[in-house]
Each structure stands twice: as C-alpha cells, then as structure tokens.
Symmetry: C2
Subunit: 466 residues, 2 copies
C-alpha cells in the first residue's frame, strides 16, 4: 500500500520536501478565491486532520475537487511543506488527488454535521467512529487496553482466557443470559414438564458468564499470578449511564496474596495506567478537556499524586452517620453503600481515592474470606472522586469448611462445585483478586459520561443493533 498515516506527517516524522501518499476521508473543504482548495483529511491515526492544499491546475479540480463533501474517501499524493497557516506545522501540497468513494446524497449523510448529540451518534453506531469524539474515544480505549496488559505483563502475570459459556453462576444473582441451541419452537420436555436440557448443545443448561473469577482462581492456584481481560455479561434490566449488558472486565487473581496485597495492586495498576494515558494520549485528552469535562486531566493528576487511603467499612458507616448529611438511602451498619455514600466519602470527606474494606458478610458473595470477627469479610471497594466505585475485590475463602458452609447458606449444593472446592482440598493457598469494569475506566478517563459511548457497539436492554 505504502500509505503514510496522517500522524506521521503532522508530528514531523517525515522530512519537509519529501513526497507522501495519504488515504483517508474528507473532514471539510474550503475553496479560496485564488483557485486553491483546502481539504482537511482524517484517517483515524490521530485526532487532527491533515490540510491538503489542492491547486486548480489539477485535471479533476472542477469535475471532482469542487464537489467533495464531508465523508468522501480519497487518496492524495503531494509534497510535505511547512504550513504557513495556523493550527498545524505541516501540510500537504497536492500533486495528485483521486476520489475513491463519494457520499450518496450528501445532504442526508448522517455524519455531515460536525456537532451531534451523543444520543444521536449512538443511533448510528456504525458511522460514529467517523466523528472526532468517538475517534478519540477509540484511541484512548485502545491505549488503556494496552496499558492494562503492559502493567500485568511487566509484573509477571499471565493472561488467561476464561470461558464465556458457563454452567455455573459466580455471583449467585441469577441475572444471566441463557445460551442454547434448542429448537425453541419445538421444545422437548421431561416427564415433570421441565425443559430437557440434556438435549441442548452442551447437554445441560448454560449461560453467559458474569465473571471469569472462579476459573481464574483455578489458574492462580497453579501459576500464582494471572489475570483475565475479556467480555462479561449481565442480564439486568438496568437502563443507566453506568450499565451495559455486555462489557469488558479486567480481573487479576493472585495466589499467596491477602486483601492488603491486592489493595496495593489496584493502586499500582491505576497509577500505571493513568501515567501511561497522560503520556500517550495527550492530543485526545486535550480534546476531551475542551469538549466533555474540564476536570479530567486534573483529577487523573491528583490520583497520581495521592496515596490511596484505606478505611474499614465500619468506620465509613460511622463517618456517614456523623456527617448529618441527608442521604436518599439512610445509613446503618449492614447496608451496602450506594453511590451517594461512596461519593460523599471519596469526594467530600476525604477528597482522595479511598479503599473501603471489610464489608458485612451478609451483603457479599459466598467466596469472600470470613474475617476473625465472624461478621465481616476481607473485601474491598476502591472509590475515586468523580465516579465512586471503580474496582471491587476480595480475598477468597481458602478454608474448605467455611466455604462449604457459605455455599449451603445461599442454596448452592457444594457437590455442584466440586471442581472449585478441589482448589481448597489440594494445596490450598490464600489468594485474592479484584475486578475493574473497563468501560467505567474509559468513561472516567475521557469524561464521556455514558458507558454506551465508550464501547463500539453497546448492548443494553432492548438494543442489540448492528
């Protein structure tokens, strides 16, 4: 192909006076009275467009150049020159200009306008990566993804892919998608009138996973430091800006690690990622600063400068009760903290990232490790200003007898999870892990408030288009 990415020209990677061929799409066209057209071209390699200076001496100037509209695909050849105009250091003095694809009915092209609402863009998710904002989201999302992997790889973690189709329900919530190849128009029933899943593809009822944790535990109990990073699913009917039915989650799982160790890991990871994104995405972050949220850069910098505070849930409840603030959900020991509580603690009271740990056992999952007080479990939530909870984790119950009792208490038959219990039968170890919802991270970094706008094709209740 031998095409030069726009970013290479704009950042001065190519010598002035050298020739380059660029392919991309027209962002805008401006014609001067002197018979020169200025075409700004984007190709996704960076936010900024390349200014192509097109003289009217080209054969196709009148027949094509003057008809170009936003979105046309083109291929241009020209000389790289220093730009006399404002806004860019380099531009392309065009010697050949080929139009590859036109816009059918430019007046109805959905991306013709430069500023559209996020809600409108969501309706055209197949075209929205052509917008500046979704282009920038895509580059930052990619950078964050790489940064997460780099952090774990540099620290000796193995990436493990955990299965998405599962026959077990990690959280015990029951809000899962069924996966099936049964002929739903002609179901077979067993004698008791129950659907006969023995005839289904996997010979049993199967679902989409809500977490890779249990499977990751098996690998941590063999290879010590692992992480999964893949899609997970929730069939919750939650129509909020913070929920997706299909989203990506990062889940490290660490053998020999106790709660304080993964609290430390979570802090190290966030700081590594935030440092990375400041360094590698400065152009896109500046765009978000100007267009979505004036606080994004300062709050990332503040997190980098903070030592994360740690308090017990019990103390957090006391602070909330002593605040005399009127919350929508009243506070007493035993409740799960809601977003308003979390944000009061991290934003108002402490003004810093905060790890709340040791929650009441009755509001937490069966696999969390019981503390000696017999009332709380070794769990933690990491709260950050501006969003509240961003990471949740725990030490896992490594003692078989207590794990068995927990299972029975919530109605799981222990023998149904023999494989999981085997990890405690054979060389059991203390181990811990956490989960980070990747879209919440992208949302936090970009200031794009709705997680539906930071994943390419969002899946939400009643919506699986594209």
């Amino acid at each position: 192909m031998n095409l030069t990415p726009v970013i290479d020209i704009l950042t001065g990677n190519l010598a002035v006076s050298s020739f380059a061929t660029v392919s991309g799409w027209v962002r805008s066209r401006r014609d001067s009275k002197a018979g020169i057209s200025f075409i700004s071209i984007y190709d996704g390699s960076c936010l900024s467009s390349l200014q192509a200076v097109v003289p009217n001496t080209l054969d196709n100037y009148k027949s094509e150049i003057l008809k170009l509209t936003s979105g046309c695909s083109i291929k241009v050849k020209g000389e790289i020159v220093e730009s006399p105009g404002k806004g860019q250091h380099f531009e392309l003095s065009v010697t050949e200009f080929k139009v590859i694809g036109w816009i059918e009915k430019p007046e109805t092209y959905p991306m013709a306008k430069t500023r559209q609402s996020m809600e409108y863009l969501r309706e055209i998710a197949h075209l929205r990566p052509r917008s500046n904002i979704i282009g920038a989201v895509s580059r930052v999302r990619n950078a964050l993804f790489c940064s997460v992997h780099n952090f774990f790889q540099k620290n000796g973690y193995l990436w493990v892919s955990t299965p998405l189709i599962t026959s077990s329900d990690t959280e015990g919530t029951g809000e899962m998608f069924r996966v099936s190849t049964l002929d739903i128009q002609n179901l077979s029933f067993k004698k008791q009138g129950k659907v006969d899943y023995s005839k289904d593809f996997f010979g049993q009822e199967t679902f989409l996973t809500v977490s890779g944790q249990l499977n990751a535990e098996a690998y941590a109990c063999a290879l010590s430091k692992v992480y999964t990073f893949g899609p997970t699913f929730r069939a919750e009917n939650s129509n909020t800006s913070r929920h997706l039915s299909e989203f990506w989650m990062v889940e490290p799982e660490v053998a020999f690690a106790e709660l304080q160790d993964i609290a430390h890991l979570a802090e190290e990871m966030l700081k590594y990622i935030f440092q990375d994104v400041l360094q590698n995405c400065s152009e896109d972050l500046k765009f978000f600063y100007q267009n979505t949220d004036k606080t994004i850069i300062s709050r990332i910098e503040k997190i980098l400068d903070s030592k994360f505070l740690k308090i017990d849930y019990t103390d957090a409840v006391q602070i909330l009760q002593d605040s005399n603030k009127k919350f929508n959900f009243s506070v007493e020991w035993g409740i799960d903290l809601s977003s308003e509580h979390e944000r009061y603690l991290t934003e108002k009271y402490f003004g810093a990232p905060l790890i709340v740990k040791n929650y009441p056992k009755n509001i937490k999952a069966f696999y969390m490790r019981l503390n000696d007080d017999n009332k709380t479990v070794a769990s933690m939530d990491l709260l950050v200003p501006g969003i509240g909870e961003i990471i949740g984790g725990s030490q896992r119950e490594e003692r078989l007898d207590i794990l068995n009792a927990n299972m029975i208490k919530i109605g799981i038959k222990p023998e149904q999870m023999n494989w999981y219990r085997d990890l405690r039968r054979y060389g059991t170890v203390p181990h811990s892990g956490f989960g980070l919802g990747f879209e919440r991270l992208v949302s936090y970094v970009t200031g794009v408030k709705n997680v539906r706008d930071v994943i390419p094709f969002p899946r939400t209740p009643l919506s699986a288009k594209f």
Copy 2:
C-alpha cells in the same frame, strides 16, 4: 507480599548469598540419608522447579517436611546458593519452611502422577495447569497473545472490541447459539405460533457472534487500521481436534488494503509472532520439542526463512489434478479444498507456506469482492506445513450494487443490513481483512495436537464443565 518468583532465582537475577522468600507448590520430595530433604518447588513463573535444600535441623522437619507430597502449598525462606547438583545453577538453602496447604488424601490426588494422558488432564481442567505441559501451554499462549497485540500496535492498528451478542449472522451458516432471557418454561407466542422475541431481553432474536468482521469493517471505514481479538462461537456439532465451540480469533481489518496487502500483512504477522516466541519461550519450546513434537522448532524456523508462495486457486486445482494422488475427496474446479488437498500443496508439492487466492465465488461468503472474471472472489487461505489452513481472509466487496446482488442471492434482505450497506454508500473504500484462529496458532507452535488442550476450559459439544 515480597515474594521472589522462582524464575528470578533460576535465571540468576538475584545475587548468590542473598535471602529470598518463595511461595509455590511441591513438585516432588527426595530425602537423603544424611538428613537433608530436596524439595522441588514450582510457582508457574517458569517451567523449571526450584530446588529447596531443607536440613533436618528445622523444627518442623519430622512433623511436616517428611510428610510433604506433590501439590502441597508452601512458603520457604532461604539463602540463594550455587547448586552443586546437575540440572540447575542455583538452589535455595532453606532456613524457614512453612506448609500452607496439605493434600487431602495424597493417594487420590489427581495430579499425583507425573505423566498423565491429555484426555485425563482434560477431565480435570481445573487442576491441569499444575502439570508441566499445561503450565507450558499457558505461558506460550500468553506470549503469543502479547505478540499478536504488539505486532498490531507497533504497526499503528487500533484494537477494537466487537460485540459478542449479535442480531446478524456473518457467515450465513445459521450454526449459532441463541442468547435469550425468555422464560423457556413459559414462552409467549405470537398469533402465527412463532415465539415472540419482542419480549426477549433485546427485543429481537439474538445470537453469539461467529466473527467480529462486519463490525470491524465499520471501524476500519473510519479509523483505517483496526483489529479485533476476542472470543467467537460456533454451534457446530464437530467433535474434532481442530474445533471448539468457543475460541479466540484475531481479525485485522484494513481500509485501502487490497488482497495482496493483507496477504503481505498475514506473512509479516506470522513471522513477527514466530520470531518472538522463539526468543521469549525457549525453555517451554524445548519442553514441547522433547515431549510432544520434534518438529516444532524446525518448522517455525523454516517459516521464518521462507518467502510465502502465492498461487491462484485455479492453479492449485490443476496441480492437485496433475498429482495423480488419490484423495478422499476428488478435485475439480469449484470445490472447496479440504485439509488433505491443502496439506499436499503446502507440505508435499511446495514444501513451504503457501497462499492460495481467488477462490470460486460460489463457495465463499457474500461479502467477498468479486473479481473481474466474474467467477472468483478476492479471497485467500494461508496454508502452512503441518496443519494446513491457518489464516483465511478476503478483500471485501466495496461496491454497493454487487453487494446487494450477493445478499439477495443467498436470501439476505439488503434492508436488514442497512448499516453494513451504509459503509458502501458513504465514502466507500477498498478494504480487506483476515481471521486467525488463535487456538490453532497455539496448537501449531506447541505441537499440542488437540485445540482442547491449548485453551484453559474448552467448550465442545456436550461439554461445558467448570
């Protein structure tokens, strides 16, 4: 935690005479008559075990050390010393030895034996990462995963996550898993007796995707160079060593790229990955060389030294017909090549990696670009000795009228895929991409023949355990 990974000691990263604390699991124990026990310890950081030399002067020598069996979890502190024995340069002279977890009934511990069949290990997929072979597979899989990402990132590609829950069927095969939250015991039917999917979670019938390609095309037609790398699903009832119901796939999609460009990209990518794995996984590859396949290293090296050959499908058919070899499936123009044909071409006839291109249109997907001969499409399969097809790709049909006709021909109503057709209406560009089944790559590199053994928890017909 402050634990030292075994690999850091064995590779000499820590100074002799310094002290280290190691946690891991017992691989084996040997007691000398002199009152010293040699405990080999693994922690997953590398294939080799650390030799811990334990004197009988420790308090718990008789009560615990002499009772250790394979699989017990332990934490030891000791001095790093040069090893007088064979097999390792360094060992640990232990001063403290703590047993963390015992093995319940060591005589029945499934991982007690050192050599077990792959089939047996598959039955205990939650414990098999404790074996040398699955540990090695896990490290090589992780290295290949990183290498794929590094290749694309270094070349300016953006990772794009494409949705797994989809309402469209890319390949038109119909062999997909349904995703649903309908109460299957109490289905609602429409008047015509059809299941009422408007009441389902997404308000329509949805499936697990067989490929991220169509969605990736939307992003390539905005950001030029993208790739997806995530799970995909096939509800085929294929019980072979090459098929999984859930597997990972790498799919780059490149705007302005024609068939020859992605053929080149595929070659560059494979060579980059193979170079990387030779460099970074030498210990594990040596293990596979000794235990699974004597040819793995030489065939990787041969691919690195080869220029990939390219021939047209039509010429490939001619070669097969002229071979006078008796194939199970007879060869004539118009058939899809089967594994025996592919392997004859790449192994016997050419003895080199081979790209077969321009297949008959009737055996290929609707989105592949029609060639000027009106009989073939711009598709390619990359064949390598020892496995046959490892990559399949094509240039995509960017001309709306031909795409429409293709859809109608196979029974897709064009208006059902308006979003996909929009990509051709608005600034259409030539674009191309390919797919690489990740488990086949891991299988090829490790010599582990069955893809069920190179993914942590395989999903296959009638099997979704763990």
